[in-house]
């Protein structure tokens, strides 16, 4: 979109042009892509008319396979086939080694905070595996829509922490996608249902996927979706049902639990696969036969629905405990809930539906396919964000799922931003130096609810440099913790006496550094192409022309009213500089000139936004935004 352009309600931007956008549900077990075409949302199938893409990537000697073709290798070649990669996003090597789920992989020992799996095609991180899945979905969308995507919305569990969100965004970057927003899965589901039903009230979204559990409470009001509270468990899902059933099978067969068979990944995967099939068929019938014939395990038996329900009941109860906590956070009781939406393949399990219905004392909504509902909502949101629906009143107000804190003396975590605070949010905190002449300091940021730093999730260490040297205790360093609309943390710091901006070096505890991302980008296919530079140049030129057009239009409208002569002068200089550079065939210099112009325009842009608000406020009655009384 053009610089300085502010769309006014009821007035569409620029000459209307339909943009291509998609919603992507990057799931633990399956992934999906959906889009809005001629006003209809649809999930997109592959050539064989399959909508779900199994989130499985096989790294062969000569080729990388994604989805169904890769699935076949997950049993025969588990070392080189990555499944449930979502569970590895934003996690460290220790997390992997402590979880039997990941015992079938061999991990490389290196310095990076991001673990790398050793495959015959080389080492890969969870981010790169996810990028493969995203790239496959992108291709599917491009082929169906007949053009490059202008932007996508990717969904993440509401309960994902900063590291997991950042990893998802990095994966999208690697796949060459322009991410308009990371959207929380429950919110996406509510959007999918909300537009159908159009009824206002309080809803609970119960989302039990393959590897994650989310519960969110939202209030719907005239197109505004306000998340009141969110909670869950980012390591609890249908996979755990499979594990419980798998352990039962092994016990019946006289063998030890899954965890003890780390050396035999084929056995683990085979048992888990039989467990999953048994679980799925028990959603339809009261009992099912299991017959396993592999090396080291020949077993045949019958699993009844009752027996399975007893096995998974403790897990279901855990989800209900989380539901209770989240209702408390939202300050509501069961009576306040108007609807319960079921999301995720694991909500097909009858016991889950039954217990959730009992708990909320209402019949859960299941009319939209629980596997597709998230992608559907994401596509609707993407369509709005990309600018295809300038008049749409859809607005999502989301919250941060886990508190952000900093490490203080004695290894304690001091909360800076509390969980369930509406985002975006910024909090400033003042620090000082403790040594004469000190010019740097480090801040350790953690995420979680516990009091001890060690019990929270370490996010990153931020090193502030360039503090002007003063005597101990004299410096006043104001550190701003900003969480953006994607739920990602940005830290900035300023010394208040001198006004000097400190530089902030981020050392993510479980994420990629900027350098690592750069290296991966360079290595990835898209960026190796020769025409890359040409494309980038054309893009910058188009961008520059749009920027100039918008600026001229803005200046003509209110330049004299909002700018002093000197301010206008400096903007005109930057404008001329961009004009001078636009045809010199160097993408970098055009980019720099645009950046300079944007920076010179900053105060002007802010004034226009403020003046626009004043203008709209005078023209409209604020009552239009009042809450519906039920």
């Amino acid at each position: 979109m053009a610089l300085l352009h502010i769309a006014e309600p009821g007035q569409s931007s620029a000459p209307h042009q339909h943009k291509l956008a998609a919603g992507i549900d990057l799931g633990t077990t399956n992934s999906l892509v959906a889009t809005v075409r001629s006003g209809q949302v649809e999930t997109l199938p592959d050539e064989a008319d399959r909508h779900l893409l199994p989130s499985v990537v096989y790294y062969g000697k000569t080729a990388v396979l994604v989805g169904n073709p890769a699935l076949e290798y997950s049993l025969t070649d588990p070392h080189n086939t990555v499944v449930s990669v979502k569970r590895m996003m934003g996690r460290g090597l220790a997390d992997m080694q402590n979880n039997q789920q990941f015992h079938s992989y061999r991990f490389a020992q290196n310095d990076s905070a991001v673990p790398r799996i050793i495959t015959q095609a080389g080492e890969v991180s969870a981010i790169e595996v996810s990028a493969q899945i995203l790239a496959t979905l992108k291709q599917r969308a491009v082929a169906t829509l007949g053009g490059e995507l202008d932007g996508v919305v990717i969904t993440v569990p509401a309960y994902f922490d900063d590291a997991q969100r950042q990893a998802t965004k990095d994966a999208a970057k690697l796949a060459g996608l322009n991410v308009l927003r990371l959207l929380n899965e429950p919110t996406a589901a509510a959007v999918a249902y909300g537009l159908d039903a159009g009824n206002d009230g309080v809803i609970a979204v119960y989302d039990l996927g393959g590897g994650t559990f989310d519960i969110s409470i939202l209030r719907l009001n005239k197109g505004v979706f306000e998340v009141l509270a969110t909670g869950g468990d980012s390591a609890l899902g249908g996979d755990d049902f499979d594990q419980a059933i798998g352990n039962w099978i092994l016990a019946e067969a006289g063998l030890d639990k899954l965890a003890t068979h780390a050396a035999n990944p084929v056995l683990i995967r085979s048992v888990l696969q039989h467990a999953r099939r048994a679980k799925e068929s028990l959603a339809q019938q009261p009992q099912t036969d299991i017959n396993i014939e592999i090396e080291g395990l020949h077993w045949q038996g019958c699993l009844t629905r009752e027996r399975m329900q007893a096995l998974i009941l403790p897990l279901v109860k855990n989800t209900l405990l989380a539901c209770r906590r989240v209702m408390r956070d939202a300050k509501i009781t069961n009576d306040d809930i108007n609807e319960v939406i079921m999301v995720g393949g694991s909500t097909r399990t009858l016991l889950v539906r039954e217990k959730v219905g009992e708990f909320f004392a209402c019949e859960p909504l299941t009319s939209i396919d629980p596997d597709r509902v998230v992608a559907t909502g994401a596509a609707l949101q993407a369509d709005v964000l990309v600018g295809n629906k300038p008049d749409d009143s859809l607005l999502l107000l989301d919250v941060i799922p886990l508190s952000l804190g900093i490490e203080t003396m004695g290894g304690l975590a001091e909360k800076i931003i509390h969980r369930n605070t509406v985002i975006p949010v910024a909090k400033a905190q003042d620090f000082t130096t403790y040594k004469d002449g000190q010019t740097a300091m480090a801040i350790h940021v953690v995420q979680g609810e516990r009091e001890l730093v060690d019990d929270c999730r370490s996010l990153a260490r931020f090193e502030l440099r360039g503090i002007p040297p003063q005597v101990a205790g004299a410096a006043r360093i104001r550190v701003t913790f900003q969480v953006d609309a994607d739920g990602l943390l940005i830290v900035s710091a300023k010394e208040r006496n001198s006004g000097v901006e400190a530089s902030v070096d981020v050392k993510p505890s479980y994420g990629l550094t900027d350098n690592e991302i750069e290296t991966m980008l360079k290595a990835s296919m898209d960026y190796a192409r020769d025409d890359m530079l040409q494309r980038s140049l054309r893009e910058q030129q188009v961008d520059a022309r749009r920027t100039l057009e918008a600026l001229d239009a803005a200046l003509a409208k209110d330049g004299d009213e909002l700018l002093s002569a000197a301010e206008k002068d400096s903007i005109m200089q930057a404008r001329q500089y961009l004009l001078d550079n636009i045809d010199n065939n160097d993408a970098e210099s055009i980019k720099a000139a645009i950046k300079q112009l944007e920076s010179d325009c900053e105060a002007y842009v802010a004034r226009r936004m403020n003046s626009n608000i004043r203008h709209v406020m005078q023209g409209h009655s604020i009552n239009e935004y009042s809450e519906n009384k039920e």
Partner: protein, 187 residues
């Protein structure tokens, strides 16, 4: 430039177009909040250039902070005193009102007793009773704060803010305790 609606510098009351008063019209605040969000939320600038994106993020962060401050009795009181230039750093001070302190002490004792002596269901009922008592005290303290503030008796108002902080902490502790008991009952 007019500052009346400069989102980044206006006071929280100016932002929502309501008079500075402890008995703030929360319905109007909510309406105005929704309006501002509908205009300035980062989703409205998803395809905009970086400057606008950042401004939108900063502006909505401030709007969110303003809403949080004005809707919370303690934060609102503290903010109003800050507007008058009163130092509200109360961390190292204790209240001098002996009767109030006694009340708080008794409250904590009741919580301890419930924690150790009651069966689950009975404990929850007792806690509910306590919570109602505290809510009444909060209501009273809010009225006192409002009266003192409007008469510009800022020291008195500050004293009531301190009591409100005590009471809010007690409310939270009661919530945490009932949450624990409820969770235990479920397992």
């Amino acid at each position: 430039m007019s500052t009346t609606h400069d989102i980044l510098t206006a006071s929280f009351f100016e932002l929502f177009d309501v008079p500075v008063s402890y008995d703030v019209d929360l319905t109007k605040v909510q309406q105005c909040y929704r309006f501002l969000q509908s205009q300035l939320h980062p989703d409205k600038f998803a395809s905009a250039e970086a400057t606008q994106k950042r401004l939108s993020m900063q502006m909505t962060s401030r709007i969110n902070e303003a809403l949080q401050t004005l809707t919370d009795p303690v934060l609102r009181a503290a903010y109003m005193l800050e507007l008058k230039g009163v130092d509200i750093n109360l961390d190292n001070e204790t209240t001098v009102d002996a009767e109030f302190l006694m009340q708080q002490l008794e409250l904590r004792e009741s919580m301890e007793t419930i924690k150790h002596n009651q069966d689950g269901e009975g404990a929850l009922d007792k806690l509910d009773e306590l919570s109602q008592q505290v809510k009444q005290q909060v209501k009273k303290a809010m009225q006192h704060f409002s009266a003192a503030y409007s008469k510009m008796q800022l020291d008195t108002a500050r004293e009531w803010l301190r009591k409100l902080q005590f009471l809010q902490k007690a409310e939270k502790e009661i919530d945490v305790l009932s949450a624990q008991i409820e969770d235990d009952l479920m397992i």
